[in-house]
């Protein structure tokens, strides 16, 4: 049976090889999309995370609703809603809805990480900042957030790795990233296994170094504590 699958059959791998440029191009698109979504998600997440801790009930309520709606609905359904539901906004652009959909999704998780990070910084830090004459906003921006972000950097990087993997879902919309490249190769070669295996290898090559970078960051910032 394993022979039927042909995982180690060089002839089948040879048929996939000519499509390498598609993979490289798809990899680039995946990377650009993930980075754009990460930047946007970080911004959304910081804002929503800070809002969740607001003393004004309606402000924290808005952020809570956002986080709970996103976390309790499937990403694919969210992407359908963003892509088709808000189609007029995108004016035919296919990058924007994907980046927005992914960052709205990841933003909710980043918000929870940011909230936990802020809560992990002792109240005394805020009080010391206020005592020096800083406003609450300055205390948050200059004292609490920088420390919280440093503390949650590993979790954020983990979220980025998830985001890269989740970005494969946009292949459903025919967006030509890494997974869609594999799909095209399958259609052209009638091979079910090898094109996707190769895509998986590329995802691994992308994500594993990131995991190592996370560890390096953790070591480097230990001095500051």
């Amino acid at each position: 049976m394993l022979r039927d699958i042909g995982l180690f059959d060089p002839l089948r791998w040879q048929r996939v090889w000519p499509y390498m440029p598609n993979y490289i191009q798809g990899l680039g698109t995946t990377l650009v999309l993930s980075i754009a979504a990460l930047l946007l998600a970080t911004a959304i997440g910081i804002i929503a995370g800070v809002m969740r801790l607001s003393k004004r009930p309606y402000v924290s309520a808005i952020a809570t609703v956002y986080v709970e709606v996103i976390r309790n609905t499937p990403l694919l359904v969210q992407l359908f809603i963003v892509y088709f539901g808000f189609a007029p906004l995108w004016k035919g652009n296919s990058f924007l809805p994907m980046a927005v959909g992914l960052s709205m999704f990841a933003g909710a998780y980043v918000a929870e990480i940011v909230r936990a990070g802020i809560q992990s910084i002792s109240k005394g830090q805020t009080e010391a900042a206020l005592s020096c004459g800083l406003t609450s906003a300055q205390a948050m921006m200059l004292v609490v957030l920088p420390q919280a972000l440093r503390r949650i950097a590993p979790a954020l990087a983990g979220q980025f790795i998830s985001l890269i993997k989740d970005s494969s879902l946009v292949a459903v919309f025919g967006y030509t990233e890494l997974t869609f490249a594999a799909r095209k190769v399958t259609a052209a070669t009638f091979l079910g296994l090898h094109p996707y295996m190769l895509a998986a290898v590329f995802y691994l090559l992308l994500c594993y170094p990131l995991s190592l970078v996370v560890r390096a960051i953790e070591r480097r910032t230990r001095r500051i504590g």
């Binding site: 002792s122 005394g124 830090q125 009080e127 010391a128 900042a129 206020l130 005592s131 020096c132 004459g133 800083l134 406003t135 300055q138 200059l142 004292v143 920088p146 420390q147 440093r150 001095r223 500051i224 504590g225």
Partner: protein, 242 residues
């Protein structure tokens, strides 16, 4: 300079400050003593409005800090230097950056001016060589001295110390007290919650004993420590003086 009028503060059903009034004149050093839970720390935190109060007023140079909001509140707070029991240095900033943060962002000093002022203050507390060390690389005594420099950086009119030596190992207490003594002799107005009797006898103009959220007794250090009038003061002192 600092005037506290009939201050009431409670946390839920727990009444912590119960109609407390006193005044601190310019250049005066007031040492506040009292049992744990008597409301000493809460009093300091109410004076710079880190805690809201239920009733009463706190005047800093004639302005009621609990009526101030936003920028006004920050401005009044910047007139009150605060030193915490657990230092609360900003752990992501070096010693010098801890000292210069508020001058740069509140007083809008240029980095050069703030650094120069910061270095002068670090020299004053005896730590110029630690300017670029992070708090995690400093000993407890050094951290507290940086915290004092940080509070001084805003050139406050009054300094408040909330048990500044209580979290320190015994061998580090003196270096912090020396800085405080020096500060007191330079004419700084100070409110110190501390049980360091040597410090109190050396520089305090008055010692105030509070219990159950009220001022029980105020007087010169030797009088309060050695000839207390109130039985509650006597009971308390018999517990801390061995």
């Amino acid at each position: 300079m600092v005037k506290v009028v009939d201050l009431h503060k409670s946390f839920g059903a727990l009444q912590v400050l119960n109609g407390l009034s006193f005044e601190v004149a310019k250049g005066e050093v007031l040492v506040i003593i009292g049992a744990s839970g008597s409301g000493k720390s809460t009093l300091l935190r109410c004076i710079n409005a880190l805690e809201p109060v239920q009733a009463g007023e706190v005047y800093i140079n004639g302005e009621d800090i609990h009526k101030a909001r936003g920028k006004d509140l920050s401005r009044i707070r910047s007139e009150i230097g605060m030193v915490f029991q657990h230092f609360e240095l900003f752990s992501h900033k070096t010693a010098l950056e801890n000292v210069t943060l508020a001058p740069i962002h509140v007083r809008k000093l240029s980095r050069q001016d703030a650094d120069a002022r910061g270095m002068r203050l670090l020299e004053r507390v005896g730590l110029p060589e630690k300017a670029h060390a992070y708090p995690s690389e400093l000993s407890g005594g050094q951290r507290q001295r940086v915290a004092i420099a940080r509070a001084l950086a805003m050139e406050p009119m009054v300094m408040m110390f909330d048990e500044p030596t209580s979290a320190l190992d015994p061998e580090m207490i003196k270096e912090v007290l020396d800085v405080m003594l020096d500060l007191a002799r330079s004419g700084m107005t100070m409110l110190c919650v501390t049980h360091e009797m040597g410090f109190a006898r050396e520089v305090a103009n008055r010692v105030m004993f509070i219990d159950e959220g009220k001022v029980v007794e105020t007087g010169e250090p030797d009088q309060v420590f050695f000839r207390p009038e109130h039985p509650r003061t006597k009971t308390f002192l018999s517990k801390i003086l061995i």
